[in-house]
Amino acid sequence: MLSLRLAIPTVNTLSPPKPKPKSGLVQTASNQTEIFPSRVSVPKRYGYKLQAATTDVANEEISVAGEFSEEEEELPEGLNKELMPKHVAVIMDGNGRWARQRGLPTSAGHEAGVRSLRELVELCCRWGIQVLTVFAFSYENWIRPKVEVDFLLSLFERTLKSELDTTSRGGIRISVIGDSSKLPASLQELIHDVEETTKDNSRLQLIVAVSYSGKYDVVQACRSIAEKAKHGNIQLEDINESLIEQELETNCTEFPYPDLLIRTSGELRVSNFLLWQLAYTELVFVQQLWPDFGKDEFVEALTSYQQRQRRYGGRHS
């Protein structure tokens, strides 16, 4: 994307990271040593280390309907375990464009997208990320051609059914957020069953946003607060940020605020995803299309995230 890149050298002063008790997030201490353009690029010193990481990928077998390994894997070179985000959010954009580039129908793009998602879920499990939220279907996506919408919903249903065994064994808890009233009844039932079956799993929580709109999330929180106020359960003065946080759809998880948001396909916008929760989230925009987003790109995004200095409005030093 367009940006003016003027080299601004900043001093790299390393001091031990001080854990900050805010929503369980850890402050990074190292300053940015590289200007961060809107296009993700990895600093040169990590280049050779990433090459070492990619040769490992060839040796691993990431099978499509794979098993999730029990132990936590060593992180690739260059990533710091203490600075790993607890909650990663992803906007999986670019399936249609990927298919068009290869002369395939859009449905092939979405299926390739599902494979990418499986790979990402496995990586998150192995690297100790606790919550992964994915933007599968936005409320605005209902305007797409009916054929595509029907395909997407049936793909979602098929994937849920086929992955239920694997995810249960892998310790993954699945939650679905969004306005489920517009979904077909069979899908709604399946979602309910999957949520019930996996609700005690604790290795990774996968939150899938289907028919989700950030604005309607806040509106439904407001509606439930208005109901409570009407019945006299709460007073107007009690309405504050943490009350609203409890009413949002992300109240199904212990860490509702993403540390990192990744959007693929180079678009620079949030598109009505998790508005409230993204207040202090680090945004990473990746040029690759979603089906091409793999381990390397994820490591790049994580590296960029770990280099950022999160101050939450305050000042360091």
Partner: protein, 281 residues
């Protein structure tokens, strides 16, 4: 006038002419209605050039006013800046006081008769929890709003003592309060009003501090960071986010041009999506 100042004045006139030419070219395409700026990097500017503390902020204010003039030249009707967040109160008291004094000075300067507020006919508006400010600053802000209320060419919003979550909490409180008062009023002809009518997006939006402006088309963040920092979370759902590594005091007209060009590239697709959405939902 000696030779140097003659050359400089000719150079300035030529630059102005060139800028106006570029504006005319850009105006052939769609121009954003509302641009928001996160003015980041003032203190890093001080460190970079070894200046006294606070110089970066002062220069930042000047740059802000210059950018306002450039936006007016381009025909952008609404400009919003993130001047001071509620989180910034956590900083050292000397820094907070310095910024507050600077803001008060700016508001007073803009309230004067021949300031750019009246030259460009800009209405000044404040978004945020103004009760968190000290009395002198709050009064200067209120006076500026009152003095410029009749200006109509552009609207400039200062977000002071603002966070988006605070704005949403206050809007939700007012929406709930409105519902409660409607329920208690016996005069309403529709007796079910307030009891069964659920809260909608419009009910919350009309109570937002930012209800005065449409949603931003572009959000520009300087100093290389890629986050929203609790700024206009609700309003930027579909805005273009533009991040530049330049520090705020170094930002100039050309950054704005690039941001607008970027907007123009994506505008037709996004506009079409918006219209389809309105038809459907």
């Amino acid at each position: 006038m000696n030779n140097f100042s003659k050359v400089r004045s000719v150079h300035q006139k030529l630059s102005n002419l060139f800028r106006k030419g570029v504006c005319k070219v850009l105006q052939v395409g769609p121009i954003p209605t509302h641009v928001a700026f996160i003015m980041n990097g003032n203190r890093r500017y001080d460190q970079k050039l070894n200046l006294a503390k606070g110089t970066g902020h002062s220069i930042g204010i000047l740059v802000m006013l210059t950018m306002l003039m450039h936006c007016c030249d381009l025909g952008i009707r609404y400009v919003t800046v993130y001047a001071f967040s509620i989180d910034n109160f956590k900083r050292k008291p000397e820094e907070v006081e310095r910024v507050m004094d600077l803001l008060k000075f700016t508001f007073e300067l803009l309230s004067e008769k021949n300031s750019i507020a009246n030259l460009y006919s800009v209405k000044f508006h404040f978004a945020g929890n103004l009760d968190l400010l000290s009395e002198p600053v709050k009064n200067a802000a209120k006076e500026l709003m009152a003095n410029t209320v009749n200006n109509s060419k552009a609207v400039f919003t200062f977000c002071v003592a603002y966070t988006s979550t605070d704005e949403m909490v206050s809007a939700i409180r007012e929406a709930c309060d409105e519902r409660r008062r409607a329920m208690q009023e016996p005069k309403k002809t529709d007796e079910n009003y307030g009891l069964t009518k659920p809260v909608e997006v419009v009910d919350i939006e009309k109570h937002m501090y930012m209800a005065i402006a449409p949603h931003p088309d572009i959000v520009v963040r300087t100093a290389g960071e890629n986050r929203l920092s609790n700024f206009l979370l609700w309003q930027t759902a579909c805005s273009q986010l533009y991040s530049t590594p330049t520090l705020w005091p170094e930002v100039n007209f050309w950054h704005l041009v690039l941001a607008v060009l970027n907007f123009q590239r994506n505008h037709f697709y996004l506009d079409k999506q918006k219209k389809l959405l309105e038809m459907l939902l």
